[in-house]
Symmetry: C2
Subunit: 421 residues, 2 copies
């Protein structure tokens, strides 16, 4: 997570405003499409993300043009209609997200906005695979499986937690999961309550009262007609997650969330709030959850966590372990306590130390998405012979990395004299 | 910004769900209120944030109870009405934000949810000043000044950029600016288009169709009736901002945004996108804006930037300075180039090296909020005798800190052998 090679998808973000570019690259024979049905992805027979061609998905996209749609079906925007609120407009058909091009950031192949005049030729010269994603809708989702029995719909979270996905698959999963969710979830304008429509290849949502042909008789002008509005752009919710070390650097503070699956302990986490630095937020969260004051907050790395749009920001911090732990302040944790390096090593070296059953995944889903109809507790716990004394998150989650980087000594922390606290 | 003492306001976030607590603390004689009118704060005669008592603002708040409002005016929620969607409900009157208590995080004074039964007595025991904020509305804003001539309405951004505000004032300004804006801006439910109402002392917005007495005849149930929805909670938009150093560590890459005030150069910045780590985002932004590939991305610190809800996340990164700079990819910068330490030192040591005129502030406002009616370019530029060759941001902005920490050698960077690039 902390390596700094570039991401596998080149998002070509500045070309999203060009419907000619998007239409050309979407029609390219190289283009590949991920399908979603709510929170589920279309998976191939080998349970990895299915990648379909444009031909295979065309019937779900509605009539062309797919981007830069004019007032009437089948029409492209006229010169008169072009403007800020129609850039790459898509107000008919499922909202399509352009994920990017699987290609290194290359200045040789780059398509600058400044000389972008012949999209088809420019797109034909691009190397790499362009990726798109959209939500197919529940009715189509079942029908699609009837006709394509090699596929299935599945939650990809277990893939992310338990399996070492290749970098491209992880990027495709993460970006499509967050972006399709954002497009699905935000159907109405927060400023005036009118329906929204899609722009910029899925990266902007605007108020339909701003379309040049909108009939706004009797309506107040939408406040989004002027100024900039953050809700028009995708949202990312930073979560600070912190492994707290004691003054010796040999013990860590971990907690058990009330809804965690059995025996799991982890680093303490919480959403940041407006007007906080990350460091403020780390201090507040650990105090609220465990009653412990920390200092010396040190950044580790970040991990996108697309359920639906979190960004986990990992930290270490120090605390005086003689402080009384109390979990009755915000009542989020069932328990919080200090663990020695030996205790943690026993678990991370145990073959089941980070084992997650299907039932565990279900509980984790509920933490993010709220309770589902079916109670996880109703299912039988798996019987395991050689059980670890407790469990910690796997390396697929940043908490698992923070814990192991400390436990295995990859990150070292000097002892602190009590007098210096 | 990178110090890790706790923030001056104790947000007591877990008590926001209790209307008894909020009503008691809002009525406390110690409580102080910040007033906003859109993006402007009420300022006292000495041009600092005005702090009013509950008595002074009462007439604008509507009838009590202020929190936990039942169906009819003047009614508190009944036991039957209490539930997730009515916790601290405020569906009448301006949306009030509880900012927190000016008090160290103290476990002695802490009010746990677990034994919180007598709010008045508990609140009376609290030390420190509780702070609230709300938007008074345009009509009331003028009327208020008529009656209270010692006050004025003003944009507080210049305060933040040019003056060293004390820590409490900065926290009050930042939190109230972001939170009141969020409450004002999000009037309708993104899931179904119905009006929203306020919960949790301004920290949650819910769909009015979920109020137990809502008449939803003929409406589809709102999707927010089930599961968790991030738009119900305040939004923070992380922006990565990076000072790029060359292989020697003696030169930095800075850019001039097309809309920047005259002669300003700064670190390169951009919003992060879903599914990016900060490091991914730093690499993408610098490549998009300047055509330069960077590596070795190092975290510096964060700064809340409440226009309206950004969090600036500061980084250093390294690049091979022999790469061709090109700003024609995303066309955001007018210019980007390398500056030597001597060139930067001349500016940061110049008394006007970070000077911001009122006109400059206006241009900066427009970058955040979009163009205003009045063109900044129409006003005469101030004539200055001893002009610096260029300007850089002041220390009130994180870019100014990144630049000075490098220029003055507070942060040092070893040269990198060309062969190791």
């Amino acid at each position: 997570m902390s390596d700094t090679t570039s991401a596998p998808l080149n998002r070509l973000s500045w070309l999203r405003t060009s419907h000619s570019f998007l239409n050309a690259i979407a029609a390219s024979p190289n283009a590949r499409w991920l399908l979603l049905n709510g929170t589920q992805h279309l998976l191939s027979s080998s349970a990895v993300l299915a990648e379909l061609t444009t031909e295979q998905v065309k019937s779900f996209l509605g009539p062309e043009p797919w981007f830069g749609q004019g007032k009437d079906e089948g029409q492209t925007l006229t010169a008169n209609e072009l403007g800020t609120f129609t850039e790459s407009a898509r107000h008919r058909g499922p909202r399509i997200v352009f994920l990017g091009l699987h290609d290194a950031l290359s200045t040789v192949n780059a398509l600058p906005t400044s000389d972008f005049t012949d999209p088809e030729t420019a797109v034909a010269k691009l190397n790499g695979t362009p990726y798109f994603a959209f939500d197919i809708g529940e009715a189509n989702a079942s029908a699609f499986l009837e006709e394509h029995k090699q596929f299935s719909w599945g939650e990809a979270r277990p893939l992310m937690m338990n399996v070492t996905l290749d970098k491209l698959s992880l990027a495709l999963f993460t970006e499509s999961r967050s972006m399709v969710d954002w497009n699905l979830r935000n159907k109405f304008c927060p400023a005036c309550g009118s329906p929204t429509f899609s722009q910029w290849g899925g990266w902007k949502l605007s108020c339909s009262t701003l379309l040049p042909w909108a009939d706004n008789t009797g309506k107040e002008p939408c406040p989004t007609a002027k100024g900039l509005h953050n809700f028009a752009h995708p949202r990312t919710d930073p979560v600070v997650i912190t492994l707290v070390l004691d003054e010796t650097g040999e013990k860590v503070l971990m907690g058990r969330g009330k809804k965690f699956p059995g025996k799991f302990y982890s680093a303490l986490a919480g959403f940041i709030e407006p007007a906080e630095t990350f460091e403020d937020s780390v201090i507040r969260e650990i105090w609220e959850e465990a009653g412990v004051k920390v200092w010396d907050v040190q950044y580790h790395s970040t991990q996108p966590w697309p359920f639906p749009a979190n960004l986990m920001v990992g930290f270490y911090a120090r605390a005086d372990s003689s402080q009384t732990i109390r979990v009755d302040l915000d009542n989020e944790l069932a328990d919080a306590r200090w663990f020695t390096r030996a205790e943690v090593l026993e678990v991370v070296n145990h073959k089941l130390g980070s084992n997650l059953s299907g039932r565990d995944h279900k509980r984790l889903d509920e933490i993010t998405d709220g309770p589902s109809g079916k109670a996880a507790a109703g299912e039988a716990a798996p019987v395991v012979e050689d059980e670890p004394p407790f469990r910690v998150p796997p390396t697929g989650a940043i908490a698992g990395v923070l814990i192991r980087d400390w436990a295995f000594g990859k990150k070292t922390f000097a002892p602190i004299q009590k007098g210096n606290l």
